[in-house]
Amino acid sequence: MNKLNVSLSPHVKDKDSVPKIMYGVIIALIPALLVSVYFFGLDALRVQAIAIISCILFEWLIQKFLIKGQNTIPDGSAVLTGMLLAFNVPANLPWWIMVIGALVAIGVGKMSFGGLGKNPFNPALVGRVFILISFPVQMTNWPKISVLNFTGIDAETGATPLAIMKEGLANGEKVSDIMSSMPTSLVDMMTGQMGGSLGEISAIALIVGGIYMLWKKIIPVHIPLSIFASIALFAGVMNLIDPTAYAGPAFHLLTGGVMLGAIFMATDMVTSPMSKKGMWIYGVGIGVITVLIRVWGAYPEGISFAILIMNGFVPLINNSIKPKLFGKVKEK
């Protein structure tokens, strides 16, 4: 007879596991990946590959030689960080900047805190913001979309809608004039025919991924919903006050990284709040800060910074918002 296994209860377990969650998110990113390849060609794959391989390599090296712990690559989080990092950069980014981004994302953003689950800030965003600030020129040199460009010849570059809007407003033009002179319409922004980073261009592809994750219960609906609602509300109110100076909610929701950020980056479990109420506060904070930076800040896009700032508040949110205890505390 075998030796009996003795362990504490419970003796059954549901089917979910960390790798399943990570791979679930990766699957949800596939529509956006396909769109990025369609619009940016081989460059998109190149950037993805460099990001993913660098992230895996750095995590494996750090885990093996610095931390001297078990191999953590199979849990899928390094692959996911690599993919998300790649989605946040332009398709024509030089390979060495991508590698630096991966090094900072994994080394500083994740492993320096102790590995998976211990980092307060979203690693992909840490890496992205680092290379944005260090290499601003290359990180804002957005390629124009060139459908199914597999020739590898570099495409032309052009500004993103957000950048166009920002510059235009700074020059004193009216919102409606800027919108009509823009090469992309709102419909184009939904499907992906606009300039931008790899992952942020197609709202539809990202929403499809989001619905998949909601179905699999990987992300809560509260975070994306609160971000969209607060951006739409804030931008909508400003637009009502002065439609010539402030762009409307549809514009803000569809341009830049809002879709990507709200559905994939802000919902990262490790760095988001652990209560539903907390998630609302977090989402509203992100939305407000994003619009603030976009309208009054120096950068045309603010969601990366907004998410990182709110990540910093998450421990405070977690400590202040506790679940309701069953039964009032008994009077002594």
Binding site: K3, L4, N5, V6, S7, L8
Partner: protein, 315 residues
């Protein structure tokens, strides 16, 4: 404004600021100064600063305060610094203190896989307290060491480590300060503080099994079966038998070694003694020939080959 003026103004401003702030700090420090007996600082300087709690006080500073305010230093002992330190403290305070026997942690279990077979598996956190609440263990001895290392976790002096071959903890005598942390951590009271002994020699029953003889022996072949032969042979009445388990009182034990060969299961361990002379019944503890100059004071493993009683003397 020319450059020289700027530099001079900067220097002046910063220096002035520095001086003003320093003066503020000085006056505040004087106003809110806590008046303490200066002897507490003196004694605190002498203490090792490990804050291990072995003295029974929450940290060295608290111990220093207690020493200064007491009448009788005999009730106070820092196991890390030992008798030497207590003498220094006594001198600093102009008092007297009596010497105490140094002690060391002793692991009273020999149940390695060689002697105690695993009959079931454990799946759970590597934590003795948790495993202890779950079941008796992976072997048939429900009192024995679980090998999950709560004692190792809690030692702040790096004096106890889990031996990967025997799956039992080994105490490094030189590093052990007898602070008592591992004694508290062990959920089964397997570790005990015992006197270090002259020349680091100690004799103890290395077993805590309270089962009757037959199940004890079946579970582990070096278990104490409670036969009582050691009790009978001890000339100093140092051994008592309770709950099928023998115990040697280290205050009464004179290290004569008579009990060790009596034990039918080799449950009694003699540490750091020279090997017995064949055919001699001479009790050890007497002066030993030069070959024994290597009385091991350095690393004292809990169970070493040379301390097993020499069975040459039975025919």
């Amino acid at each position: 404004m020319d450059d020289l003026t700027i530099v001079l103004l900067t220097l002046a401003t910063l220096s002035g600021l520095g001086i003003i702030l320093a003066l503020i700090l000085y006056f505040v420090a004087q106003k809110f100064k806590v008046v303490e007996d200066p002897r507490i600082d003196e004694v605190d300087e002498l203490l090792p600063g490990a804050n291990c709690g072995g003295c029974g006080y929450p940290g060295c500073r608290a111990f220093a305060e207690a020493c200064v305010t007491t009448d009788n230093l005999d009730a106070f002992y820092c196991p890390v610094g030992g008798n030497e330190l207590m003498k220094n403290v006594a001198d600093a305070l102009g008092a007297e203190v009596s010497e105490k026997e140094p002690q060391v942690a002793v692991v009273k279990c020999q149940g390695s896989p060689e002697h105690r077979k695993d009959i079931r598996e454990y799946d759970g956190p590597q934590n003795c307290a948790i495993a202890h609440s779950l079941f008796g263990g992976t072997t048939d001895c429900a009192n024995g060491c679980l090998g999950l290392g709560d004692c190792v976790e809690v030692c702040t002096f790096d004096a106890i480590h889990m031996n990967p071959d025997t799956k039992l903890p080994d105490v490094i005598e030189d590093a052990c300060t007898a602070c008592g942390a591992c004694i508290d951590a062990c959920p089964r009271d397997i570790i005990e503080l015992r006197n270090v002994g002259k020349k680091s020699r100690r004799i103890y029953v290395s077993c805590v099994n309270t089962d009757k003889g037959a199940p004890a022996k079946k579970a582990c072949d070096v278990a104490c079966i409670g036969c009582g032969k050691c009790v009978k042979i001890c000339p100093f009445d140092a051994i008592t038998l309770e709950n099928n388990l023998a115990y040697i009182d280290y205050e009464k034990c004179k290290l004569c070694r008579k009990c060790v060969p009596e034990c039918p299961t080799n449950a009694i361990v003699e540490l750091n003694f020279p090997p017995r002379k064949p055919k001699a019944e001479k009790p050890a503890g007497e002066k030993t020939p030069k070959t024994e100059a290597k009385a091991k004071k350095t690393v004292a493993a809990e169970k070493t080959e040379e301390t097993k009683p020499n069975t040459n003397q039975d025919k």
